[in-house]
Amino acid sequence: MAQPQVRKFAGDLRFWEHGANGARIPVIPEPADKFGNQPLEQSSLTFSYEAGDSVEIKSKRRDARYQQIIHKDSNPGVTNVSITALEVPPAILARMLYGTLVSTKIDAGTAPDISVTVGSVNAPVKLPHNFLLADTAPTFKKGAVDLVKDQDYTLDPVHGLLIPKPGGALQDGDIVVANYKYDAYLETAISGGTTPSKSFLILGDMQDRINGDEGLLTIPNVDLTVDGDVDWFSDEPIQVTLTGPVIFQSGETDLYTFKIAAQSAD
């Protein structure tokens, strides 16, 4: 007798973001991973299906079948995917902020004579770089006048902020010429609110935990957005629920596929 086909899946979900010209950008690039893309830590994967329109034809014959359904046809519906992510890599952080992500690697260097405008003396002024180095003290000039640190301004070198001091030489609308050295850093800049959703390719390396069958889930295009509110200061690490409909990807033959295989014993 056959053993019951009891199933329980475990799997690694790998995400690629759809880029321009068919590029697929790994969400967590990792050279040591067999796919070059580390699986996203997740705790759930849910498929839901919104049924399409259905057509029912009812019998008009005046006998026992009167008004009973004699034919039913359903149109295909929309598949939605929902994933609870337990980690927030930059591409998912961009989803959390409904924005676009630009990662820039900035090499250490010197900023010679950079002009910044002081909008208001009451608010800090952002310099073009972060991580200003202290070994050669940054200098700031207003016209020909050297500004004096702690008298005219203070500095937040980590965020690259020039903070005008009340009673100092700086006035609203002044142009300050800055000279400083900065360290190398990797900046992930997210412009929030511009992109409510983004397309992803998901590859699920799934395993049936009970009989050992190996399955491969392929979703060529799913348009994901973050569902619900995210508390930035929650006690627990942030979990985000990514959800969205599966989109038919041109060039593919199926909306999504799941292939499961058991290796033959002989």
Binding site: M1, Q3, P4, V6, K8, A10, G11, D12, Q207, R209, I210, N211, G212
Partner: protein
């Protein structure tokens, strides 16, 4: 008849033992628990044991569901790391904290690495305690409790023909 594999609950114990064996300072861990004594069965404990040791035991299997040819159970597992006082080790409490960290690191794993049939494995609580028995032996102990979900499927055993 092909030799039967051991029951899933025992496969789990052996799997956990093999994971604990990975804990070596040469592999980037803080302690060398893996090269020490790891006890899974009674006959492995020497009479005059005075070195730190790890004990892995499955204490309870409670049924959580199933059908006519399958059974799902929750296994309660304890993993205990014990440093006897007077074994010449300095800072036994620090050692226990390190051991707990290493054990949790070695036992936090992707579900796909578990033996087939083990559907879940999670670490629940760690207790650190000082034990003293009547004979005056004293030891510092880190006890980790974990739970695992097991699903076993069976080929039905027929009744003998009347």
């Amino acid at each position: 008849m092909p030799e039967l594999a051991e029951p899933l609950s025992w496969q789990l114990v052996e799997f956990l033992r093999d994971r604990v064996k990975l804990i070596r300072t040469s592999a980037g861990f803080r302690t060398d628990i893996g090269s020490g004594l790891i006890v899974v069965d009674d006959d492995e404990v020497p009479e005059d044991q005075s070195e730190p040791a790890t004990v892995i035991s499955v204490q309870q299997l409670s049924r959580s569901g199933g059908g006519s040819a399958q059974a799902s159970s929750d296994a309660a597992i304890t993993i205990e790391f014990e440093v006897p006082r007077g074994s010449g080790r300095e800072n036994p409490r620090l050692l226990v904290h390190r051991a707990r960290h290493d054990l949790i690191r070695a036992l936090t794993l992707n579900a796909k690495m578990l033996p087939i049939g083990v559907t879940a494995f999670e670490l629940l609580t760690t207790q650190m305690a000082t034990l003293e028995d009547d004979a005056g032996h004293s030891a510092v102990v880190a006890q980790i409790t974990a739970r695992a979900g097991l699903t076993e499927t069976f080929e039905p055993v027929p009744n003998p023909n009347p």
